[in-house]
Symmetry: D2
Subunit: 133 residues, 4 copies
Amino acid sequence: MSHPKSCEIEVRVRYAECDPMGYLHHSKYFEYFEMGRTELLRLAGIRYRDLEARGVLFPVAKLECRFRRPAHYDDVLRVVTRITRQTRARIDHEYKLYRDDTLICEATSTLACVNREGQLIPIPDELMPDNEN
Amino acid sequence: MSHPKSCEIEVRVRYAECDPMGYLHHSKYFEYFEMGRTELLRLAGIRYRDLEARGVLFPVAKLECRFRRPAHYDDVLRVVTRITRQTRARIDHEYKLYRDDTLICEATSTLACVNREGQLIPIPDELMPDNEN
Amino acid sequence: MSHPKSCEIEVRVRYAECDPMGYLHHSKYFEYFEMGRTELLRLAGIRYRDLEARGVLFPVAKLECRFRRPAHYDDVLRVVTRITRQTRARIDHEYKLYRDDTLICEATSTLACVNREGQLIPIPDELMPDNEN
Amino acid sequence: MSHPKSCEIEVRVRYAECDPMGYLHHSKYFEYFEMGRTELLRLAGIRYRDLEARGVLFPVAKLECRFRRPAHYDDVLRVVTRITRQTRARIDHEYKLYRDDTLICEATSTLACVNREGQLIPIPDELMPDNEN
């Protein structure tokens, strides 16, 4: 199966995710990015829940995020998730969040790959990009 | 070791827990009650994390909650947690939440006891109240 | 515009919403119910964000919830939200949460209606059920 | 009043904050950093809730975070928050999170200062470091 490099999902901002400023709280963006990663994986025919059941876990090792504009309750946001680099040891993603054509937020993350005991393991074959096979 | 029947903890309301009304979001109260249960157990010399490591889990089966007054960011709340009934199959708790002497919220919960596979199991001996030993 | 009495939405359980048991944490269900209320209102042509901008707020006064079965990460759940009673002073909702045909959870809530200062106000006309007009 | 440049708080990890890996979810760290900022301000005799009531808001403009070691349910973590740079337009913080002497996480943030309408405003005098007065 081919490995798409990017995907786009829509998320409607929940009331409980917004703070007294009326803004989507900055900590909640990282849940949206995680949803983006889950759906990007699903496009490749892989369910993260199955990986986890096999003891293949992807903790976040590094995050960077620039908040350009606030988002508000009931906004419908587009989360564009893209893999920018992948080795046997790590996967780097880039995220862009839009409301219509307005860029709300840009971010990057680095994931490691570990087993149930938290030890680093090589990323399994079926997750490696096509040009590596 | 004796089993205290109630405990009191203080929690300061976080900014991220408050919603656009400026109120502590109603879903967050249940995290405070869970903290109350953890500390009540600790008073009896038991860590919930150790129970869980042994495969003894306490999922919530039932909740009831009456929100009397709003709580706000930076409020210091007192959570009073009390066991009202306990059998081999369930533990019932009651919660009262105060800001100074103002009652903010009253709630009750029922916990079941299950193993890692989600099957009901008897509550272990060391968790049973003294008058049962 | 007619006022639908119930609506159904789908929610996919997020990783960040699940706890160390692997279960959707019990506090998170209340976010799903809130999403149900928002969408039920939208079916009637009303956006809760507009009500709030006018100073019409609906804090939760009472909740009851029975957790029948655990839900897990990546599950797609159906939230069925229904108004069971409405007066000038309160709105009662009922919720049922399903994974396929399995009932996961049943709940009820009572909402009050307040202004920005937290004072009780009558529920506005356009929110009253058709048979009251 | 003098302006302390750093502060240290303790936070016990909540069950609801941990994910199916059993780790403190990466999005939750940002709530802890926000608590650190609130307490650092309090040490200077300022309550963020009062600033907000006056229409002085500090949205997060930028975050960077490196997760060194996982944290778990019931861990007691020390959050060390330090101001590294401050101008009339922004405040930069640095965070270090420890469990005993183990470094769990390092992070930085940049806050902007806006009014209720979201427009940039100069940071008020009483928040400026002593050497600027």
